[in-house]
């Protein structure tokens, strides 16, 4: 039990004392998760919008597929991505294994179904009269798209936060694809796994608290943003 308390104290030490290994892991985590969340938003929001907005045959089964993919286990994604980017795999020439872009590919696969699914839900739950109202004001298709997205912004934001939380806290992909390489691909979660393996439970708890602190910061800024818009 002692190590939980020890972890609290150590977390403060790490952050206040500017521990370079901790800051390297924080930096890697923030960088790679921003990268993957950026990519998945760029791809996921338009796809989710189409899935929620338009009626087409096969829409229900497609929804089910997307919802199922939300449950993709991270180690499985890690293994799949590894199979593709290992130097003897089909994408081996790009040298993506043990790099941040490699991890970002995996995390994008992890976040994409969440963004698509939650965006679709946000668009579906919009007032159906909205479309008629916007059209009646003489909007063209592009304006219609933009205003509908704007109306669904809170739902989209919720999706982005859920996906960000999942991406930032996953360990399977970072470990498998990134290799937990010190100063390079060691994220906070893989560092926790390592410290636990080393029996340094206090240090593991400390890093966990650091991760929570970052998540807290992100959510505070988002809720601030939400009140403003």
């Amino acid at each position: 039990m002692d190590f939980i308390l020890e972890g609290f104290v150590q977390a403060l030490h790490l952050l206040a004392g500017g521990n370079p290994e901790t800051y390297s892991a924080i930096w890697v985590t923030v960088r790679v998760s921003s990268y993957s969340i950026g990519c998945s938003l760029l791809m996921g929001v338009p796809l989710g919008f189409c899935l929620g907005y338009f009626d087409f045959s096969g829409k229900r089964p497609l929804r089910t597929v997307v919802d199922t993919l939300m449950a993709l286990p991270t180690v499985f994604i890690g293994l799949l991505v590894y199979a593709f980017i290992t130097h003897r795999g089909p994408l081996g020439n790009f040298g993506l294994l043990f790099t941040l872009p490699g991890i970002a590919i995996g995390q994008t696969i992890l976040a994409l179904p969440i963004i698509i699914g939650l965006s679709a839900t946000a668009v579906e739950s919009m007032d159906p009269k909205l479309r008629v109202t916007i059209m009646s004001m003489g909007a063209n298709r592009r304006q219609l798209f933009i205003s509908s997205l704007w109306e669904a912004r809170h739902g989209l934001l919720a999706g982005a936060i859920a996906a960000y939380g999942r991406v930032m806290t996953e360990v399977g992909i970072s470990m498998m694809v990134g290799g937990n390489i010190k100063w390079h691909t060691r994220t906070i979660t893989t560092a926790i796994a390592l410290e636990t393996n080393k029996g340094q439970f206090g240090m593991g708890v400390a890093l966990g608290l650091v991760l929570l602190a970052i998540a807290f910061g992100v959510n505070i800024s988002v809720s601030f943003l939400r009140r403003r818009i």
Binding site: Y35, P101, N180, K182, L194, N197, K198
Partner: protein
């Protein structure tokens, strides 16, 4: 205008987020190694000294020996530091690796509760395993195809006993050595560990751990570590020359002395033996 601004900020962000330095950097060596060299802190201690001596940055990923060999076979790393001699020799014979050099050893020990419920203390390995099996004492195994796990399996076979699998007293963790020791401690059972990791465990618990060394010194318990470069004929992209520099350095007098000086609680963790 607003959109142009946003695009510029976005592009700047992308460039800023892109990793500096690429994979093909010659001054970098990628190693796959076993958990014991990483968990004990040996590589954290050696890597900066290797960089001082040669200017090459050592990066490593720590897994069990089984996966490390697989990473080598798949050309994902340039060099291996592992400890499962029969598997290593097969790896070289299969044409995946070259220049296998032994660098250091420690030994495996069997540890267990100080009260020693099965009474194995001081017995030979064959007797120890026979007693554990007959008394159904809890034995915690790595179960992860690592060097330590391969060694343990070979000991069961050498004692003419069937390798336990589903027996209730045989616990396979599938995790690293220190985690496995902690499981053994929670279950009040026995396990086999390399001495380096055991000393690290002792030092974590301020020199007073619940599990004690009960069996040691048997010749079959020797734990040999080696480095193997990945064969350029198998993997065209492997940095064979850089790997050769590392092998030269780690088997040289300076690094061998460094290994000798690496201690926890005043006890050496590894014994260098490159020139034996």
């Amino acid at each position: 205008m607003k959109r142009v601004c946003a695009a510029v900020i976005f592009l700047a962000l992308v460039v800023w987020l892109l990793p500096a330095g690429s994979w093909a950097d010659e001054k970098m060596l990628m190693m796959a190694t076993t958990t014991s060299t990483d968990n004990t802190g040996l590589l954290d201690y050696l890597a900066p000294k290797f960089k001082d001596a040669t200017g090459i940055e050592l990066k490593w990923t720590a897994t069990g020996t089984g996966k490390a060999l697989k990473l080598g076979e798949n050309c994902d790393v340039d060099i291996l530091m592992v400890h499962a001699p029969p598997a290593e020799k097969k790896f070289v014979a299969d044409g995946f690796g070259v220049d296998r050099r032994e660098i250091m050893y420690n030994d495996f020990v069997i540890i267990g509760p100080a009260s020693d419920p099965a009474g194995i203390k001081g017995k030979s390995i064959k007797d120890v395993l026979t007693v554990i099996k007959s008394k159904q004492a809890v034995f915690v195994s790595r179960g992860d195809n690592s060097g330590t796990h391969k060694k343990e399996l070979s000991l069961w076979r050498a004692a003419d006993l069937p390798v336990p699998e589903k027996e209730s007293w045989y616990v396979q963790t599938g995790q690293g050595m220190l985690t496995t020791i902690n499981v053994a401690s929670e279950r009040n059972g026995y396990t086999m560990t390399d001495r380096g990791t055991y000393i690290k465990y002792e030092s974590n618990l301020k020199g007073n751990p619940p599990l004690k060394t009960l069996v040691e010194g048997d010749a079959v318990l020797l734990n040999q570590y080696s480095v193997i470069a990945i064969d350029k004929k198998h993997c065209a992209k492997a940095k064979y020359d850089t790997a050769k520099q590392f092998t030269g350095w780690i088997t040289g007098p300076e690094a061998q002395q460094l290994i000798k000086d690496f201690k926890l609680l005043g006890k050496p963790l590894f014994t260098p033996n490159a020139n034996m």
